[in-house]
Symmetry: C2
Subunit: 342 residues, 2 copies
Amino acid sequence: MSPGARVSPIAVDAMGGDNAPGEIVAGAVQAVRERNVPVVLVGLPQQLEEALAEHDAVGEIPIIRAEEALGMDEGALASLRRPRSSIAVACHLVRRGEAAAVVSAGSTAGVVATGRLRLRAQPGVIRPAIAVTLPTLPQPTVLIDAGATADAKPEMLVQFAHLGTAYAEVALGLRRPRVGLLTIGTEAEKGNKLARRAHELLSTAPGIHFAGNVEGHDLLTRVVDVIITDGFTGNIALKALEGSVRYAFDQLREAIAGSRMARFGALLQRSRLRELQRRLDPETQGGAVLLGLNGTVVIAHGASRAGSIASACELAARLAAQRIVQRIGERIAAAPKPHRLW
Amino acid sequence: MSPGARVSPIAVDAMGGDNAPGEIVAGAVQAVRERNVPVVLVGLPQQLEEALAEHDAVGEIPIIRAEEALGMDEGALASLRRPRSSIAVACHLVRRGEAAAVVSAGSTAGVVATGRLRLRAQPGVIRPAIAVTLPTLPQPTVLIDAGATADAKPEMLVQFAHLGTAYAEVALGLRRPRVGLLTIGTEAEKGNKLARRAHELLSTAPGIHFAGNVEGHDLLTRVVDVIITDGFTGNIALKALEGSVRYAFDQLREAIAGSRMARFGALLQRSRLRELQRRLDPETQGGAVLLGLNGTVVIAHGASRAGSIASACELAARLAAQRIVQRIGERIAAAPKPHRLW
């Protein structure tokens, strides 16, 4: 990009999330001031100006008016009835080229439905998918689809492999990421019908570095860089993982508190344990990314606070700068066409 | 049962498992001597006699000859080719009324395939399912199906609800256990096609105390007593849970070892942490139970040692004494017939 070239801002859905608009606006201010990411806020102007005033930031961040907000408990249908919701307007800005990508902490179902409707699937992509990163070391592992497409076809899983590969390249800087298929045994014939057919297709898919099947206990062992699954299984696996890690730490805290070692336990927690727990806590992770549409939507956790929103803005800016949509488009264009489109 | 009535023994597949036959035989000896559970050992007589001799138990436990064993890496097909495998012979003993139930630490795929072939589905049951218990407090939570039927139909999930309810009543002593459907949102319309249709059917199923949808993060929160899912999703969720708990503890151990608090951490581990880890470790759990066949098969973990095998024998004896197969039969007979059978 030439010096001085105008960088499109990230459109932040300021009304979505448990802590909207206060923490969302605070995160946007952080993104602008500390991470050098230009943003626009989308929502109810009066509320947003009040929130900006708390940071002496009125006039520093543009506000785009949206008439209403999607409730956190509203699902896909509500999004169809609300063409002027903050998330719909944010998507519209991307569609018109006035924003580079969207960040929202709104309900996943609402964000996915609105994104599909307002941004539409990019050419050749059958269904969008949500990519998340699992907290493995030394690098995260990409899981895709974490919940956008609950009823997937084998051909969609192959496309998810392209989406996930492009994402791993751009977001994690990996070259030729290894792709694994999530199923219930390492042999090719293991799994349900969907996984067995997807295994066949992935085995011969050009442009995919397919490393074979992985199982549920491989989510955190980093045997591959990208794990492919349908949105139903992926969402359950992700939430099982989150719930288990949280449970293990809760039990640990109880065990420490109930022991004669409690004081030492408290010391321990102050140091590395807290850091560890933060790393494993999904709420501090970067956020989920909706891929396969004509524009990228970073879905921050509903409970996000300012820091998470700023990170989500930074991720959205990086994905846009590295042209993730175009990269996916090139991959899909180069791939053999699925037998039929849905 | 009248005093002195002959109690049928548990048929133990002595050749199945990573530590067979040594640890299996040791577990059988424990079951007989310490838990008052009668067993017969099925396998290669010479090896079993040698193993029994180590416990001065030759002649104490009957041996039934089997010509061969299924390898731990052998799947469903191998079981069809091995009518004289130890697991096949053990199932045969139950079919002929000479044993009350089977215990095997063999490969799950091989045990399920052999069980289906040799014991056959009980009348009215479309497909068998594997029930496991998740380590929640104050009582475990039943997850069913953990991997027997990867491609399930909605009507099968309703049957799994009956199997899981009977299991919770017998194994956990619960009255009117609450049943939840594993899916990706709490609203009725959330999920894939299978889950949405199963939700409809479960909502009106007589004899089932249906409490609605649960999500992946509810596996360990005990919002219900029994969690229903297909064998593909259930297996991945279970392994995700196991892998995550193990990962959290590994990371914890590393954090403790690397800190200045290492000594105190080591002290901590000696006390309640170790107990906690044992409770959360799937390998120390009772074992999975294959339900819906004309006979019950307890599938112990492949890495089981003597103590786990003895526990599995005790569980098998309890399930048989409380007539789990008949209870399931009565439930299925009383339930409305599925529209069509597969």
